[in-house]
Subunit: 94 residues, 7 copies
Amino acid sequence: MSLRPLGDKVVIKVKAEEEKTVSGILLPGSAQEKPQQGKVIAVGTGEIVDGKKVPLDVKVDDEVIYSKYSGNEVKIGEDEYLIIRQADILAIVE
Amino acid sequence: MSLRPLGDKVVIKVKAEEEKTVSGILLPGSAQEKPQQGKVIAVGTGEIVDGKKVPLDVKVDDEVIYSKYSGNEVKIGEDEYLIIRQADILAIVE
Amino acid sequence: MSLRPLGDKVVIKVKAEEEKTVSGILLPGSAQEKPQQGKVIAVGTGEIVDGKKVPLDVKVDDEVIYSKYSGNEVKIGEDEYLIIRQADILAIVE
Amino acid sequence: MSLRPLGDKVVIKVKAEEEKTVSGILLPGSAQEKPQQGKVIAVGTGEIVDGKKVPLDVKVDDEVIYSKYSGNEVKIGEDEYLIIRQADILAIVE
Amino acid sequence: MSLRPLGDKVVIKVKAEEEKTVSGILLPGSAQEKPQQGKVIAVGTGEIVDGKKVPLDVKVDDEVIYSKYSGNEVKIGEDEYLIIRQADILAIVE
Amino acid sequence: MSLRPLGDKVVIKVKAEEEKTVSGILLPGSAQEKPQQGKVIAVGTGEIVDGKKVPLDVKVDDEVIYSKYSGNEVKIGEDEYLIIRQADILAIVE
Amino acid sequence: MSLRPLGDKVVIKVKAEEEKTVSGILLPGSAQEKPQQGKVIAVGTGEIVDGKKVPLDVKVDDEVIYSKYSGNEVKIGEDEYLIIRQADILAIVE
């Protein structure tokens, strides 16, 4: 089973909220609009900009930071996924 | 009798809310904006983007996840249908 | 006497609210934003999209479902009409 | 003395509110957003759509229905005029 | 000293509020959004529409009606001026 | 040290609020949205309109009137500067 | 480890809030919407304007002033970073 996001949408596997990331980024726990981190699982076919479909900038396996209250949460088994518009992704962690 | 949705609208046969889906996706029951799942019954003729009509990405029989409070509910006999804009569909389940 | 709607507007002859339709669609009576059904009486000359006038998708005599709180009501004799933008029409019943 | 409306604006001579119109349209007295009727007195030079000036669809002497709380009222002597954008005119009565 | 308004802005010399105008227009004193009258003192270089600068429709010395709560008031000596966008001017009085 | 504003932004050296200006403009002290006056110190490279960069209309040393609650205030030593979008500048005083 | 911001987003190393900057700019401590200063650490690939990707105006190592409540804060070790859209950057300090 897999999720195929539409258009400019991206499926993200969410990291646990308090976890300190491998790269050492510690996400604030009480900020009103706190960013979060996760790994890209699937990407949509692209965003339509002025009539042309532009491929998304993020790719599968990218580790990304995004705004917390963006997107819609989906739960598969024990894992939480987030379906988010690419515009709500802030940066790729390298 | 059938429904022919206009433009970028899609008719969806709604799954019962607490039901665990075949694919194992369990939708949260209390989230403020909870996604839901259903099967596409009919699709509109397309979305007008910059003056050209672009066919929709979803097709009849696609199983899709969408934002819960999107769209308008219609009841035919015992079944609930949802008429929703494609932009409110998050992903196709495969 | 007749009404000639402007642009993307459509005149609809409203069905009584609790009535079960011929096609078996029963519209919910208490929903916050409940769809409704009616017959198209007159259509505008079209919607201007990117500088070109695009004819409307609905035609006179189409039976349509629309969002309840859309449009403006007009009463002629005993009949209620609704003048609505095509964008607020959800689907055609066939 | 006359009023020359700008762009997409239209000057309308308002009908008295409770009056039953010649065409038999009786406008509701208590609706939250009730339509009204009047005669077009003057029209603007047109609406700019995608860089081109498009002439208005209504003409002087057209009897029109519009949304009540649209536009700005002006009083000349005993008569009430309304200066309204064409987009707030719903239909022409014929 | 003079004011040179930018872009689509217009400088208007405001008429006293209760004054009955020469043309006989009496402006309502208590309306929520009451139109007002004044004379155009200076006009901007034009409005940019789809990448081209379009000259304004009003000219210096035009007597115009505008929405009351539009624009910004400036006082020079005893006179009140209003700097307003052309879109908030309703009609020219002729 | 100097400030180089981005895009359509303009740096303005603010005049003291109650001061009567050289040109005799007295700005109201209690108005809800009161205009103010200042001198342009630096201008951005221009505004992007339909894909092309359009140079700004105001130049360094222009004395301008702008809407009070626009922009962001910056203090350098004793002087107050305002960084404002050109769209919030109403007129040039000549 | 590094952050690669998407599109029109910029990563900024934030200056301590009360600190008087090298250039002598003292940022107000109690203003409702107070600007702030920082150094650009990474910039996105550009902003899409009318279908074309336009490179950003700010570069790595630029010292910039931005609106305080813009963007999303990220903490790496002891340092605070801000991921902000270029449109929320007011000026470059030179």
